[in-house]
Amino acid sequence: MAAIDFDVELRRAGAHATGGWRRVLFLAQRHVLGAAGLVIMALFVLTAIFADVIARYDPLTIDSTRALARPSLAHWMGTDSFGRDVFSRIIHGARISLAVGIGSTALGGTIGVIVGLTSGYLSGWVDLVFQRVSDVLQALPLLVLALVMTAALGPSLPNVIIAIAIPLIPTVARVIRANTLALRELPFIEAAKSIGMSEVRIALRHVLPNTLAPLIVLATAQLGSTILTEASLSFLGLGIPEPYPSWGRMLSESAAEYVRTAPWLVIFPGIAISLAVFGANLFGDALRDILDPRQRG
């Protein structure tokens, strides 16, 4: 039983961190992994925003004279077979991969919320139909669905986003629906009813905002998996088309051929994907811990 210096412990435990930045800092200390995830994500987002500033070369310019250069001071991550700077491509790739990740998560999330809210709130046959549709979508392998969707729509950034977003809808909708069902039973919803509020207004004003926390947690977790799905699609040749440097594209089958002669072509994009997904997952985990009231403590 170690003696405890209360003042030190109190400070360390953030007893005085009650609001604002102090509290954020305190939470960051308590959830080191989550903070790391947040930092990673923030770095990637900043990278995406300032890609033009950070990248030292144009990611698309081809230069036969410096093809397949090893990593060096001039080209930190080497160059690809077209002589394009891998580092610059990864920097710009952040834009595309994050656009896919965030775009499809947002799209799938939004539709999922609408569907989940409607079916949870209205129940009845709307709910029944939704449940069956989501059963159907969930029984189809996600990648197969995305494959067929991109094949149907053609490979382009918006289409890839759509293709990845669609399988996401039932996942989100299920979570939101479950939450809505639980919320519907809460007294504050009854209280709203008892003052004569309309159902739609209750759904929008009382139910929806209270599904945000689980939604955010789900979204961060899904963000990672959408980035991975894009990578898999690109690997199979159906993701974002050349010459845009999405990370998945950079890792695609043809790049994989260089795995031994120019491993940097395979290693670095792989690390970029893994790191971004890792960051999103770390952050999502911590967020779940913080937002889940039962996990407090």
Binding site: P187, F188, I195, G196, P209
Partner: protein, 333 residues
């Protein structure tokens, strides 16, 4: 009592129990099984009973938050049992509800001010500056500072949260407030604050309360009349003093005897009943209490006693009270 504000007649609420592929109904929960009572203007009717006996269902039915299976609810003389949602809206202003769990009753994502102002907004009674002023006044009424309007529910303590709930109920200036165990979730030292507040507000505004609790002492303190429920039915209803002086129903007697008295010198606990409350899915035939009653006779198993007047507005549903109008049973101890 003066004029009758709320009159509930033979209220029943059955929930189906479903099972199977076609979700066929296989049974019925007799949550409320023929309940009649009335609440006068400015009066408090207390409703006590064991957990699951249907108190909340009565409360919700009165407010039409659940649709009663049968029976009639008259508010201020008007039958509101079958009014449509829109037709009901104006009546909603006359009755409000305060729930047991103040935290769950408040939307965690709205500020206290918004919560209290919402009924006014919904009914188009106020907006903008006017709304703010009225909310501030409500805050003051329930003993909250108006600068707390911008705080979120989690920033309040339990008692304060219940005050917000009460303020919300007051916003529409209702005539009847249904309180469904409003103090059960509160700390004992806070409970008194809320009860006092309710009493003060009643004195000021002349509200009627339908006050539900499982704590006899609390009910006794605040009510003018008390109704005792058992398994979906009212078994005894009487003036408060009358009820405590002369409980007629064996269940009421058991209830009274079971309350531990906060006095080490007073009588020791003596449980008067054995066994557990039967399930409302298959309530026992006859008198629902006969399975636990010390005085149960053969008739109790088949005959269902109805509420009968025992004088002074004291009504009991017990076969032992037949005829004489008076209980032959003196409560032991």
């Amino acid at each position: 009592m003066s004029e009758v504000l709320l009159e509930v007649t033979d209220l029943r609420k059955y929930y189906p129990v479903r099972a199977g592929v076609l979700r066929r109904q296989v049974g019925t929960v007799h949550s409320v099984d023929g309940v009649s009572f009335s609440v006068g203007a400015g009066e408090t009717l207390g409703l006590v009973g064991e957990s699951g006996c249907g108190k909340s269902t009565v409360a919700r039915s009165v407010l039409r938050l659940v649709e009663p299976t049968s029976g009639r609810i008259r508010l201020d003389g008007e039958d509101i049992t079958h009014l449509s949602k829109t037709a009901l809206r104006p009546h909603r202003r006359s009755m409000q509800i305060v729930f047991q769990d103040p935290f769950a009753s408040l939307n965690p994502r709205m500020t206290a001010g918004d919560i209290v102002g919402e009924p006014l907004l919904v009914h188009g009674l106020a907006s903008g500056k006017d709304l703010e002023a009225r909310v501030a006044k409500l805050f003051e009424q329930v003993g909250l500072r108006s600068d707390q309007m911008r705080n979120f529910p989690h920033q309040f303590s339990g008692g304060q949260r219940q005050r917000i709930c009460i303020a919300r109920a007051l916003a529409l200036e209702p005539r009847l407030i249904v309180c469904d165990e409003p103090v059960s979730a509160l700390d004992v030292s806070i409970q008194a604050q809320v009860i006092n507040l309710l009493i003060d507000l009643q004195r000021e505004h002349g509200f009627s309360y339908l006050f539900i609790a499982h704590d006899l002492a609390v009910v006794a303190h605040i009510s003018h009349r008390v109704a005792v429920m058992y398994l979906g039915r009212i078994v005894e209803i009487a003036d408060k003093d009358e009820l405590f002086r002369d409980p007629r129903h064996p269940y009421t007697q058991a209830l009274l005897a079971s309350v531990p008295i906060a006095n080490p010198l007073a009588k020791k606990l003596a449980p008067l009943v054995d066994g557990d409350v039967p399930s409302p899915v298959n309530p026992p035939p006859g008198c629902a209490f006969h399975t636990r009653c010390r005085f149960a006779m053969d008739r109790c198993k088949t005959e269902r006693p109805v509420l009968m007047d025992a004088g002074d507005g004291h009504q009991v549903a017990c076969l032992l009270n037949e005829g004489t109008g008076r209980s032959q049973l003196a409560p032991t101890t």
